[in-house]
Symmetry: C2
Subunit: 243 residues, 2 copies
């Protein structure tokens, strides 16, 4: 009896491609479940548990876990299996500052090489993000679906900013670091829903406008401040609420 490789064919929005092997499927689902906090930081990832949860065998799970390990979302001890990577302010800051380094350079190059198409995509993703954010501030209840939709739009916007940097490596690294830092912004960790404390939309707009004005240094400074503020806010929260 075998899982007959009938995988989701829909090429969904938000940059998620249909997996072509079970290992790729395991990677996507595990990654998502770690990023969204379904599995808590530090929690052991027992193979048997995952096998049941995803209906897969050891091999594809193991491959997925190995990939996630190199992305620092999963930790593993020699013969003691895997666990969700732990969180700490040190790790958060290292991820944040590395992300700033990568995205600053990527943004510089994108501004240099960016064309009409680039601007169009930024405007479009900014608008989608803004719309989703407004929709959520108006309603009292925030569903899980809306939260992940907001997250997807947010990711799209930041992706659009650096899309024209002409470096596969910078884009992939930004992607990785986005996933790492996303874990720290989770309501399960910070207790509050995003977009409440600061004027996030305003910061995004400022970055966009500086980029369009080809004001490179200004755009980079704004982006840097944007990321540092977020991490500082999380650091404050963690200091208060965790012993």
């Amino acid at each position: 009896m075998r899982n007959t490789l009938e995988l989701g064919k829909s090429t969904e929005a938000g940059g998620v491609k249909a997996p072509e092997t079970l290992a790729a499927l395991a990677y996507q689902r595990l990654r998502q479940d770690i990023i969204t906090g379904v599995f808590a930081p530090g929690q052991p990832l027992r193979l048997e548990l995952l096998r049941q949860r995803y209906g897969l065998s050891f091999s594809p799970l193991r491959e997925a876990l190995n990939r996630l390990q190199t992305e620092r979302l999963v930790a593993s001890a020699a013969l003691r299996g895997f666990s969700v990577a732990a969180v700490s302010t040190e790790e958060m800051w290292d991820a944040t500052e590395t992300r700033i380094l990568i995205e600053s350079e990527a943004l510089r190059r994108s501004i240099e090489y960016g064309d009409d198409d680039w601007e169009a995509r930024i405007v479009s993703t900014f608008h989608s993000l803004d719309l989703q954010a407004r929709r959520m501030t108006n309603s009292e209840t925030v569903s899980m679906e809306e939260l992940s939709a907001l997250e997807a739009r947010h990711k799209d916007f930041h992706g659009a900013l650096i899309a024209k940097c002409r470096s596969r490596r910078l884009i992939d690294l930004a992607d990785q670091l986005y996933a790492e830092t996303q874990r720290y912004r989770l309501p399960t960790l910070t207790g509050k829903t995003p977009a409440t404390s600061r004027n996030i939309a305003g910061e995004h707009r400022q970055i966009m406008e500086a980029a369009f004005a080809r004001n490179t240094d200004e755009a980079v400074a704004l982006l840097t401040a944007h990321y540092r503020r977020t991490s500082e806010s999380i650091e404050r929260f963690m200091a208060e609420h965790m012993s």
Copy 2:
């Protein structure tokens, strides 16, 4: 019958740790064989072949290949297996410029935080590298062992420069990018043995001295020029010798 996990216990020099699982062993050996050109760029990596070559089963090999894929040393098509990542001037330059970005920042921080211990290690590794290089320029024949010894010393020196940057991520990224760029410096690709065309030792010494003088901008500029010169030289060679 099973491979009884009796792994090399010796903690060898050059930053190679004894593997604790067969998957880790497979990773190390495969990585080395790809970096040193035992497997040519673009060459398919058939599982059966690897199984025989390393005396391992599919599972550990597959895990190793997956890890190497995220490091861009191995490429894989959906259901068509793995192959050694192809080489191209575009990829080389992307790797080079990304490396410059990472190591420049890492060097800046290392200079800021570096202590006596840091300087000592740089002096020591520079000396070892210099010694090995002199040994090789004097003798006519260059053995494979000497070449890999030189490579190890070279890696140690560049590692020592950025060792005190206080960022796991920057160090690991530098490591990865070192491996990527190393493939382009291979005699099998460039035709010539290293350290012949330029005054490599002199460039290294300049970087070291600028770092010790806490002349940050100068050190970074020298390091950048060092890497760009190498890639330019390889690019010239490739343009001449490959159609």
